[in-house]
């Protein structure tokens, strides 16, 4: 039973990480590329680490909860690093694709 839970969590996590990287390669401009790694990869990592938590709790003696620490850290830091990157992109005046709405908001 626990094997099933671990497998499903691992597969969900792996596919989310993959989706994040696909978004990184596929999207046409920097601002759209940022959406994949900040969101999909973070949730994928949380799912993978939950799987690792269940795995080590069942195979080794005693409960193992320290994987929560990494997922908590990643969830807290992903928005901050995303914010820093988008700020440096705006500072460098990167081009966004033509159909972007509300570009005039960037000027201020």
């Amino acid at each position: 039973m626990t094997e099933w839970i671990i497998s499903i969590l691992l597969l969900i996590g792996g596919s989310f990480v993959l989706v994040g990287s696909i978004g990184l390669v596929k999207m046409p401009d920097f601002f759209m590329r940022l959406h994949g790694p900040t969101k999909a990869t973070t949730l994928g990592m949380a799912s993978l680490l939950t799987a690792a938590m269940v795995f080590f709790s069942t195979t080794q003696a005693g409960l193992s909860v320290k994987e929560i620490l990494i997922s908590l850290f990643l969830v807290l830091t992903a928005p901050i690093s995303g914010y820093m990157m988008i700020k440096s992109a705006i500072h460098h005046k990167l081009e966004s694709i033509d159909r972007t709405k509300g570009k005039d908001n960037l000027e201020e």
Binding site: F16, V19, L34, H35, P79, G82, Y83, I90, G102
Partner: protein
């Protein structure tokens, strides 16, 4: 908004709680010795470092804060499936856009939390808070602040602004009472 803690020896209760939990998680045990050490660390570290940090507003309604955290976690999980669909779908149909959201919050700490939640929830990344003030804690409410966000698939701008304001900003205002 309240900046001073209720007890002098406990300047920031949430930080103490986090330190306590982090120590126990790092050692992966709940034995008596580790609990005592964690309590000592959780009290001493905030006391020693509090003169170096600027005073942050304290959470006044912990119950509501917990409920808001659960809501945000639920939103993160459901939102990620939508974003995965958007990324895997055809890129041509996406209409990205920049939206500016007027903020009612004035202090930097609640604005940071709001920007982080916006970054983690559906198809939006917060880009900038402006007008930027170097000393954001001291001139409260001097100017109307805006949060600039980038949206992956912008459909209805006004509806998005209303969702952010009601779903994420209103509970934060109530939690910090500002």
């Amino acid at each position: 908004m309240r900046l001073e803690a209720r007890f002098k020896w406990l300047p920031s209760p949430i930080l103490s709680l986090l330190l306590f939990l982090a120590w126990l998680l790092l050692n992966n045990s709940v034995s008596a010795g580790h609990i005592v050490l964690a309590i000592i660390l959780a009290i001493v570290i905030p006391l020693v470092t509090s003169p170096f940090r600027t005073k942050q507003p304290l959470i006044i309604k912990p119950g509501l804060a917990f409920r808001h955290l659960m809501l945000v976690l639920y939103d993160i999980i459901t939102a990620n499936f939508q974003v995965a669909m958007l990324i895997l779908g055809p890129t041509k149909n996406l209409t990205p856009g920049f939206v500016k959201v007027p903020l009612d919050l004035t202090h930097s700490m609640p604005i940071t939390i709001l920007a982080s939640t916006v970054s983690l929830t559906p198809g939006t990344v917060s880009a900038e808070v402006y007008p930027w003030e170097e000393n954001i804690t001291e001139n409260k409410g001097s100017k109307q602040k805006f949060l600039l966000i980038h949206v992956l698939n912008l459909k209805d701008e006004q509806a998005l602004i209303n969702t952010i304001k009601q779903r994420y900003e209103a509970p934060l205002k109530e939690i910090f009472q500002c």
